[in-house]
Amino acid sequence: MREIQASEIREAVVRLILEASCRIGPDIEAAIRRGIDEETSPAGSEVLRQIAESYAIARQERIAICQDTGMAVFFVEIGQDVHINGGFEDAVNEGVRIAYRDGYLRKSVVNDPMFDRVNTGDNTPAVIHARLVPGDRIRILVTPKGFGSENMSRIRMFPPAAGVEGMKKFVVETVAEAGPNPCPPVIVGVGVGGTFEQAAIMAKRMTARGVGSHNDDPRYAALEDELLGEINRLGIGPAGIGGATTALAVNIGFCPTHIAGMPVAVNICCHCARHAEATL
C-alpha cells in the first residue's frame, strides 16, 4: 500500500489549474496558427490572429487565457493500492480555492442554480469524476470548463435504428445551431453509448483528448474526420463571422450500451480547450 498525502494532491491541483488556465496546449495553438494561413476569409483569419496573439500574451504575463476560467472539472484515476492520508475531495477543493485566488482567476460558481444564485467566492465546489483503477498511482486531469460553450451542449437518447446517420446529423446540427455562441473554432467532444450520464461524462472527457488525436477504433476515427469536414463546410468560421475554421477537432468516445438505446452526448468546447494532467 503506497501512501500519498492529501497535501500532495492539493499542490498538484493548484499547479495544474494555473497551467491549464494560462497556457494553451501546443496542439491547439498550432491548429490556430495553421488556420491563420489556411483560412479563406480575411476577416476570419484576423480573428484567428487575435486569438493567437491573446494566447501569447496570456502565456508571457501568466494571466488567464479567457476571463471565463470555468468550473474546475476533474477526471481522476485512483490506484487501488494507494492510501490517501487526509480527505481527497477536501484536498481538491482546497487546491481549487488556492489556484483561483492566487492565479487571479474568475470565480464563476453560484451556490444554488435557481433561487439564491450567490457566488461561492472561491470557485468551489469542483466537479470530480473519479475512478478506481489497478496500481499505486493517482492520475489527475483538470479541464476548467467555460459556460459559453457548455450552454451549447446537448444530449439525446436515440433508438438503435437511428444508427450512424442519426448520430452524425445530431452532432452537425448541434454545432450549426450553436453558431457563433460557443466561441468557434470549437472542439467537439462526443460520447456515444453507455447510459444517460455516462454519455455526457465521456463527451466532456473527449473535449480534453487533444487536437489531432484519433479514436483507436478506425471506424470511429474515420467518423471523426468525416464529421470535422462536414462541420467545417457549414461556413460558421472563426467567431462565427464566416470561414473554413469552425471546429479544430471532433473527438468521439464510445462504450457499451443497452440493447434498446444509443445515447449521444455532444459537449462543445471553445477554442480555449484548457487541460493539464499529472501523475502522482
Partner: protein, 195 residues
Amino acid sequence: MNAKRIKLPLTRERARVLKAGDAVLLTGVVYTARDAAHKRLIRLLDEGKPLPIDVEDQVIYYVGPAPASPGHAVGPAGPTTSYRMDPYTPRLIELGLRGMIGKGLRSQAVIDAMKAHGAVYFGAVGGAAALIARSIRKSEVVCYEDLGSEAIHRFEIEDFPALVLIDSEGGNLYETGPAAFREQAEEQTRKREKG
C-alpha cells in the same frame, strides 16, 4: 484590416454610418453588465425607479472580467454570450442605449428594437481576453459591488478591437459572413466539376 476609429459616447449619427462587417477601434467609456446586473436594472425600471447609469448614447459591454493581477488595470476581459441578455435588452434600447459589445446571436426582438432606435451590436473575439484587456485602460465599479465580477464597471477603453455584427438597419454579419463563405465554396466546387 482597416479599422474605423470610433469615439464614444455613440451618438445616433455616429451609429448610423456603421455597417455590419466594419472593423472598428472603440475609444471612450463603456459600462459592463451581465445577467445579474441586467436583472437588477430591469427590476428598477419595473419599480419606476431611476437607473444607476444613464444609458443614453452609451455602450454596454457584456463581460465579467477576471481579477486584475498586479500591474494590470483589469484582468482578462473578453465578451460573454449575448443572448442571455436578450430578455432585458429592448427596454434599455428604448431608453437610448446605443451599443452593445458581446458575442453570439441576438433575438429578433433585440434586432427590431435596434432598428427602431438606431442601436448597434458590436462583437469582440471570444477567448481573446488577454489581448482585449490591453485596450482597457481603467476600470472602476459603479454599482452592485456584491456581484463581484458581475458588478457594473466603468471601463475607459482605447482602440478596443471590435466588429460591427448587427447594424442599425438590421444588417447582420452572422448571416452574410457564413453565407458568403458557402457561396464561395459552391462556386469553387462548380469550377472544379467543369474543369
